[in-house]
Assembly symmetry: C2
């Protein structure tokens, strides 16, 4: 697999949108480097590059909220990826299904979705 | 409008996903600077920042394929935007509805959608 059509930025990263394959809900955006992309394609389990932690991030490795790859698409310029996934549970670290839970209303952001699960439960702080 | 929750990168940009509001189709990703975001919110017509041309890019200004804003959402980290839009015609400069027309199949990218309109028609090279 050459991946030559994939264009990584000056940090060696490419943004990837995760969309729930059957409902169309946009869940999150994260970043991949070449290793994360190769692992995702090889295993079918979505792996990102964590910019904050500086290491590969197998989505769900600490929360159990895994993403399984259904289809991987590349855009016309080759510099963004669309992942069609099957999301276990919730995608957002706040416990919400999608990270896009804030919407502009009359010039201000308001929350339009409540957490489905407590972050403390997700990350093992509550047994 | 303060937009203080919006986190722009070191180039002053934030990536924005455009999704067709009613079908859920992910159309494209482009970038906004603060001025593009403010204009989009003020006018309801989506305006990006063109990194290649180094100027504001009112989507559809040369092709007629405008995007009208239905809702604007910000993610949990404040560093990516989801635009729910009503797309006139096609979003992709290749004449396809979505920029994500290539999919990985057996380790190689294949085209899964044909142009709906010729790029020459879109950009006025054909009367």
């Amino acid at each position: 697999m050459t991946l030559e059509e994939f264009s990584f930025d000056r940090d060696g990263l490419i943004p990837a949108i995760a969309q729930q394959h059957d409902t169309g809900e946009v869940l999150m955006v994260a970043w991949m480097n070449r290793a994360a992309l190769e692992e995702t394609l090889a295993t079918g389990r979505v792996c990102y590059w964590s910019r904050s932690r500086g290491k590969l991030w197998r989505k769900g490795e600490s929360s159990g909220q895994e993403q399984h790859l259904v289809d991987l698409r590349l855009d016309c310029d080759g510099d963004t990826i669309l992942l069609l996934v099957d999301q276990t549970g919730v995608a957002c670290h706040t416990g919400r299904r999608s990270c896009y839970y804030r919407a502009m209303r009359d010039g201000a952001l308001v929350e339009i979705a409540a957490p489905a699960v407590s972050p403390d439960t997700l990350y093992g702080k509550v047994p």
